[in-house]
């Protein structure tokens, strides 16, 4: 299912009794570990692209994978330049979890130079990017609660 919440067409079945509800407010505090990807997240906060390279097939993964797609072994950390090409892009709105941040923003699938997979990243709507646009990894660490929220791409002229 989608995560859209259009209420048009709501029905409540045959029962028109409004019933009784109690309101429960769950405030859960997680001390969430970054685990073995800590180095990737640390680098991301600095605007650096840290991927992993599989020594069995010489492929490089950014974002990193815990194991190679084809070889069930962990790779070695390797730094990429941070430049890449937009493969696909969608214009919409970004709502940042666990914050009040909400803004018009594009989400792009970006193939970083030297990587064998593609990364998701946010790009400002203006100037508009398109498939084929060249971009560079940037950092936007304000109003974030998790390093994954820092990843942005900015357009560059090649």
């Amino acid at each position: 299912m989608s995560d859209e919440f259009d209420t048009t067409g709501d029905t409540t079945g045959d029962n028109t009794d409004p019933g009784r509800y109690v309101t429960l407010d769950l405030g859960l505090r997680f001390n969430h570990p970054l685990g073995s990807l800590r180095q990737y997240f640390d680098a991301l906060e600095q605007g650096r692209a840290l991927g992993v390279r599989c020594e069995s097939c010489a492929r490089t993964w950014f974002p990193p994978r815990r194991t190679c797609c084809d070889h069930s072994v962990a790779g070695n950390w390797t730094e990429l330049a941070g430049d890449g090409t937009v493969l696909s892009i969608t214009f919409g709105e970004r709502s940042v979890p666990f914050t009040d941040e909400r803004e018009p923003m594009s989400l792009a699938l970006v193939a970083l130079d030297g990587a064998d997979n593609a990364a998701l990243g946010w790009i400002a709507n203006d100037p508009p990017a398109a498939p084929g646009s060249r971009v560079r990894l940037a950092v936007a660490a304000e109003n974030t609660v998790h390093p994954a929220q820092c990843a942005r791409f900015e357009p560059v002229d090649d």
Partner: protein, 395 residues
């Protein structure tokens, strides 16, 4: 994989798919669906060997280990219960587990129940956050990536590759909302036109509001048995002749072909081989296809082999998959028209095809031509886990 036993569908039932605001809860819906399914199968609870429960999110249900609660609620203690989860495919995975139980000889009659309490009791942002965590939470969900955005990125690549158009996708919305008008369980029956879809508010390009399915509250149940274990003989019942399941990399960017659903192509190939189907496009008469978004139905039709790569969009616009087309798809309305409740969806899809093959589906939606074989397609994530079943009418 081969399986000598082809399980038989004895009966089933489902609640309405909707936003429940009548004070009832998911345990009420599960009891209602299970009771009606057993009655439809002309069985009592004591006749069931095993219970399989499907539910994607126990957080949304506010009940950890729902299986152990449901087995007691249904009066099935001390029978075995197992809860399965595979995101949007949870209900279909539960049907597959019933298939496995019966094919292995471990059980004779299995009750499958699935539910989701996803639509009516949480704020929209909270639901969006929780479902974002159903993708790669650390890399994507916590960063604010949504299901809609991921599916949009995938279909944009399909559009680049194959020239699939907004109008072709809008046809899916018109068809499925229209088909839902005949389905009394449907969440969003509507008669609309292509222009309505194209003019609806943008969510995440190219997807607009009317390209998106709904989250619904619902429960569904089905009784599946070994051949000869149903009351009154098998007669013209429907049996499950093929079952396949496969996975893909969780992250879209890790896939070699992010515009297509590779897991579905693999799962359907497994199911078709088991069913002895050489050409799905020729041998399948009707299909319930997983359609969280309009473009995803087009991608799914191609992955299922019901159209060639890049051919489903033009065929959709030509009416091939309409109710009166060569291969009706989502006569129930699909997720777009009927609604989506992950634990229940795969079960209610299976029920729809069962009834269509028996000529017993909703008046107005039942095609006039005889249907012998149908496919049920469900997936979780962005087709990260795919479950496909082939159903065939006996006699």
């Amino acid at each position: 994989m081969s399986s000598g036993t082809r399980p038989v569908i004895l009966g089933g039932s489902a609640t309405a798919f909707c936003r429940r605001r009548d004070g009832s809860g998911w345990r009420d819906w599960v009891c209602e669906a299970a009771r009606d399914a057993l009655a439809d199968a002309d069985l009592e609870a004591k006749d069931v060997d095993t219970l399989v429960v499907a539910c994607e999110s126990e957080v949304m249900a506010l009940q950890l280990t729902p299986g152990s609660i449901i087995v007691d609620d249904l009066g099935l203690t001390p029978r075995e219960v197992v809860r399965v989860e595979s995101g949007g495919a949870s209900g279909a995975s539960a049907v597959r587990h019933a298939f496995i139980h019966i094919a292995s000889g471990l059980a004779r009659r299995v009750l499958v129940v699935g539910f989701e309490h996803a639509a009516s009791h949480l704020a929209g942002d909270d639901v969006r956050l929780l479902y974002g965590l159903s993708f790669d939470a650390d890399m994507e969900g916590i960063a604010g990536v949504t299901a809609t955005a991921l599916y949009a990125l995938s279909i944009n690549l399909h559009m680049q590759r194959h020239g699939t158009t907004r109008e072709q996708m809008a046809h899916v919305s018109v068809k499925n909302h229209g088909n839902a008008c005949f389905n009394p369980l449907a969440h969003k029956p509507m008669t609309i036109g292509i222009e309505d879809v194209l003019a609806s508010p943008v969510v995440s390009t190219p997807y607009r509001r009317l390209d998106c399915s709904l989250l619904s509250d619902a429960a569904a149940a089905i009784v599946i048995a070994a051949p000869g274990e149903g009351p009154g003989g098998d007669g013209s019942r429907v049996r499950i002749v093929g079952s396949g399941c496969a996975t893909d990399h969780a992250r879209l960017g890790d896939r070699a072909e992010p515009h297509s659903f590779a897991a579905k192509a693999r799962a359907s190939a497994i199911a078709y081989e088991m069913a002895g189907i050489a050409s799905a496009a020729d041998d399948i008469d009707v299909a319930e296809v997983y359609d969280p978004f309009t473009g995803a139905e087009i991608q799914s039709i191609e992955a299922l082999g019901l159209a060639g790569d890049g051919e489903a969009g033009p065929a959709m616009a030509a009416g091939d998959f309409d109710a009166a087309g060569r291969l009706p798809v989502n006569l129930s309305g699909g997720l777009i028209g009927q609604g989506g409740a992950p634990g229940a969806s795969g079960i209610v899809q299976t029920l729809a095809v069962d009834r269509l093959l028996r000529g017993a589906y909703c008046p107005g939606a039942q095609p006039s031509q005889e249907l012998r074989r149908g496919v049920v397609d469900t997936h979780g994530g962005i087709c990260t886990t795919s479950v496909v079943h082939v159903l065939e009418r006996m006699g």
